[in-house]
C-alpha cells in the first residue's frame, strides 16, 4: 500500500491502545445514548416475556415478523467480518492489518445479537432447550435433526464459537503486551488470558500458521451459515420461500450488507478513536471497489429470485409477487432496496475521488444497510401473509411498539458491545500493525521515493 507511513513503535502502541487507556468525551456520550436505548430494549424483552408474544404484531399465519427479519439481517452483517478477515489473511493483503480485528469483533457481536432474536421470539426463551438441545432422554423427546430449525442453531453456534476462538487466538499477543503494562484489576485478567505468551520465535510461527488455518476453516463455515439460514425458509413449501436460489442469494446479500457495515465501523473508529493513521483513505478505496462488484452480484441474484418465482407460473407465487410489487408497504421497501442498496451507492463508488471521501463512504454504507434490512423484510414477511389459498386465512403483519423497540435496541447493542470490547482489548491488532512496520521499506524509482512492503511467501 502506498500510503502506509513508518511510525515509531511506541507511537503505534500508544495510539492503538488509546480506546483502552482513555475514555474520550465522545465515548461517554455514546455509552450513555446506547445504554439508554438498551434499557428500553431490556424492558421490551421483559415486557414481552411477561405478557407473551401477543404484545407483538405476530398472528397466524404470519408468525415470523420483525424479530426473524432482524435475525437474518444481523447474521448477514456478521458475514463480512470474518470474510474480509479470512480472505485478506489468506491472500496476505497488506491493507488487512487495521481492519481484521474490528471486522471479526463485529462478526462476534452481530452473531450474538442475531441469536437473541429467535430465542426471544419463542415467547418462552427457556423452552428453546426442548427443541434444540437433546436433554430430555427419559421422555423420548429428541430434536428432529431433519428440521432446518435444528440445523440453523448448529451452524450459527459453530460460527460463533469459531469466531470467538479466532479472535481470541489472534489477540493473545496483544493481551500479553497489555499484561506487561497493566495495573489493577486488568493485570490478573490479562495475565490469565495471555496464557504466559512470551513473544518467542516459535510462538510467532505458530500464531501466523494458526491465522491461515483458521481463516481457511472460517471461510467455509461462513458460506455454510447463511446458506443454512436461508434453508430455514426454503425448506418449507411456502410461496416465494421455497426456492433453490436463496442460499447463494442470502450469502451474497450478507456480504453486501456486511462489508458496508465494516465500512461504517471503520469510519466510526476513525472518528471516535482517532485511528486516521491506520485506517486510511486507501482502505475505503479498496473496499469501495469490492462493494461495486458485490452489489452488482447481489442485484443479479435479486432478479434471479424474482424470475424463479414468475417463471414457474404457480398462482400462489405470482400472487405474493404481485403483492410485493404493488402493495404498501412492500412498494416502499422495493424502492428502498434498489435506491439505497444499489442505485445511489454504486454510481458513487465508481469514482475514486468519492471512495476516498470518508463522509460519503459512511453515508452510503448506512444507506446500503437500510436497503438490505428492507430487503430482508421484503423476502421474509409476504410469503407467510399469503401462506394459504383462502382469503380468510390471509394476514397483514404490522409490527407492534415492542417489536420496533427490539429492532432499535439491536442497533444499539452491537456498537455498545463493540465499545465495551474496545475498553478491554485493542480494536486494531497492534502486533500485526507492528509486523507491517517491520516489513515496510522505502524504495527509489527514478526520482520518486515509494513506500513498499517486503513480503514473505
Amino acid at each position: 500500500m502506498q500510503e502506509r507511513r513508518n511510525l515509531p513503535q511506541m507511537e503505534v502502541i500508544q495510539e492503538l491502545l488509546l480506546p483502552v487507556t482513555r475514555t474520550t468525551m465522545w465515548m461517554w456520550v455514546a455509552f450513555i445514548i446506547l445504554g439508554t436505548i438498551l434499557a428500553a430494549f431490556g424492558f421490551a424483552i421483559a415486557w414481552m416475556v411477561y405478557w407473551g408474544i401477543g404484545v407483538t404484531g405476530l398472528n397466524r399465519p404470519g408468525m415470523w415478523g420483525f424479530m426473524i427479519v432482524n435475525f437474518v439481517f444481523w447474521i448477514g452483517i456478521s458475514h463480512a467480518g470474518v470474510m474480509i478477515s479470512a480472505i485478506l489473511r489468506l491472500t496476505q493483503a497488506e491493507w488487512r492489518r487495521p481492519v481484521t480485528r474490528a471486522a471479526e469483533v463485529m462478526t462476534m457481536f452481530s452473531l450474538m445479537t442475531a441469536l437473541t432474536y429467535p430465542l426471544i421470539h419463542t415467547g418462552r426463551p427457556w423452552r428453546t432447550l426442548y427443541w434444540v438441545f437433546p436433554y430430555d432422554f427419559w421422555r423420548g423427546i429428541f430434536p428432529d435433526v431433519r428440521s432446518a430449525l435444528v440445523m440453523d442453531p448448529s451452524a450459527v453456534i459453530t460460527y460463533l464459537t469459531g469466531t470467538i476462538l479466532f479472535i481470541y487466538i489472534t489477540t493473545v499477543p496483544d493481551i500479553a503486551m497489555m499484561r506487561d503494562r497493566a495495573t489493577g484489576w486488568r493485570r490478573p485478567l490479562y495475565r490469565v488470558l495471555a496464557l504466559g505468551w512470551q513473544n518467542g520465535e516459535r510462538q510467532w510461527v505458530i500464531q501466523t500458521a494458526t491465522g491461515f488455518l483458521l481463516a481457511a476453516l472460517m471461510l467455509s463455515i461462513f458460506v455454510s451459515v447463511h446458506s443454512i439460514v436461508s434453508w430455514d425458509f426454503s425448506f418449507s413449501l411456502d410461496p416465494v420461500w421455497h426456492t433453490s436460489v436463496w442460499a447463494p442469494y442470502f450469502v451474497i446479500g450478507a456480504v453486501h450488507s456486511g462489508v458496508s457495515a465494516a465500512v461504517t465501523l471503520m469510519v466510526l473508529m476513525r472518528w471516535m478513536f482517532g485511528f486516521d493513521k491506520y485506517i486510511r483513505e486507501e482502505h475505503f478505496d479498496a473496499i469501495g471497489r469490492l462493494l461495486v462488484v458485490v452489489a452488482t452480484a447481489w442485484v443479479f441474484f435479486f432478479m434471479l429470485d424474482v424470475f424463479f418465482a414468475l417463471f414457474n407460473q404457480d398462482p400462489r407465487e405470482t400472487a405474493v409477487m404481485k403483492m410485493r410489487f404493488e402493495q404498501w408497504p412492500y412498494t416502499l421497501m422495493l424502492v428502498l432496496i434498489f435506491v439505497f442498496g444499489y442505485f445511489i451507492p454504486v454510481p458513487i463508488w465508481m469514482f475514486r475521488k468519492f471512495r476516498r471521501n470518508i463522509k460519503l463512504m459512511f453515508w452510503t454504507s448506512i444507506m446500503v444497510n437500510i436497503g438490505m434490512w428492507s430487503e430482508r423484510y421484503w423476502l421474509v414477511i409476504p410469503g407467510l401473509e399469503r401462506k394459504y389459498e383462502w382469503t380468510f386465512d390471509w394476514n397483514y403483519y404490522r409490527p407492534g411498539i415492542v417489536e420496533i423497540t427490539l429492532i432499535v435496541g439491536s442497533f444499539a447493542l452491537v456498537p455498545f458491545l463493540f465499545m465495551c470490547f474496545s475498553k478491554i482489548f485493542p480494536p486494531v491488532s497492534i502486533w500485526e500493525e507492528k509486523e507491517g512496520q517491520y516489513f515496510l521499506q522505502e524504495i527509489k524509482v527514478g526520482k520518486a521515493s515509494i513506500p513498499a512492503i517486503v513480503r514473505e511467501f
Binding site: 518467542g200 516459535r202 483458521l214
Partner: protein, 188 residues
C-alpha cells in the same frame, strides 16, 4: 546437567543478530536460545530455527472427531428415537450431512486452537526470565545455558551491544533440559 537462563536485550535488530553470531562463537547453538520479539520477523532473520510443529495435524484430527460425533448425533438419534413426520424417510441423509459438516468444522476449529496453544508451549504461567521492554520493541535473546557457560554467554551478548543482560537466579528445579533442547536436532 543444570541449565540456567540468560536474557540479553537489544534495542535494534542489527545488534541482536550480532549477539546471535557471538553466541555461536562461544559454542551456544541455535537450538539453545530463542529470540523474543514483539511481532513476527521474517523467517530466518535470526538464523534458521530448526524446531518443527505438528499444528497441521490438529485440525485433521479435530475434523475426524467432529465428523464422528456429528454422525453419532444425527444417525444414532434417528435410530434410537424414531419419529416419522410427513412420511419422510427416517434415516434422512441430506439433513444429516449438514449437521455432520458443522460438527466437523466446529471440532476442526477447536482442535486448531488447542493445537496452537499446545504447540506454542502454552499455558506457561511460571515465568522464565522475561523483560517487559520486549513488547516495547526491544529484542530479547533468551539463552538456556549450562551453568558453566552462563558467564561466557552473558559476556558474548554484552560484547555484541546488549543494553541489558539478566540472569535467572537459579537453574530450573524440575527439568534438567528445557523443552527446546530435547527436540530432535538439538545439540546442547
Amino acid at each position: 546437567m543444570a541449565l540456567r537462563d540468560v536474557l540479553g536485550l537489544y534495542s535494534d535488530i542489527d545488534s541482536a543478530v550480532a549477539g546471535v553470531d557471538k553466541l555461536a562463537e562461544v559454542g551456544i547453538h541455535r537450538e539453545d536460545f530463542e529470540v523474543l520479539t514483539n511481532a513476527p520477523y521474517p523467517e530466518g532473520a535470526f538464523g534458521h530455527d530448526h524446531s518443527t510443529s505438528r499444528l497441521g495435524l490438529w485440525p485433521v484430527v479435530g475434523a475426524c472427531c467432529g465428523f464422528a460425533v456429528g454422525l453419532l448425533i444425527t444417525g444414532g438419534t434417528q435410530v434410537v428415537y424414531p419419529m416419522v413426520t410427513d412420511g419422510k424417510p427416517l434415516f434422512s441423509i441430506p439433513p444429516m450431512v449438514i449437521i455432520m459438516y458443522e460438527g466437523t468444522m466446529l471440532a476442526a476449529v477447536i482442535f486448531t486452537v488447542l493445537g496452537a496453544i499446545f504447540e506454542s508451549r502454552l499455558p506457561r504461567f511460571s515465568r522464565e526470565i522475561y523483560d517487559t521492554r520486549i513488547t516495547d520493541g526491544y529484542i530479547g535473546v533468551l539463552v538456556h545455558s549450562p551453568e558453566e557457560r552462563v558467564d561466557s554467554a552473558a559476556a558474548a551478548m554484552r560484547a555484541a551491544g546488549a543494553e541489558d543482560v539478566r540472569m535467572a537466579e537459579k537453574a530450573p528445579a524440575k527439568a534438567s533440559q528445557p523443552a527446546r533442547a530435547k527436540r530432535k536436532g538439538a545439540s546442547a
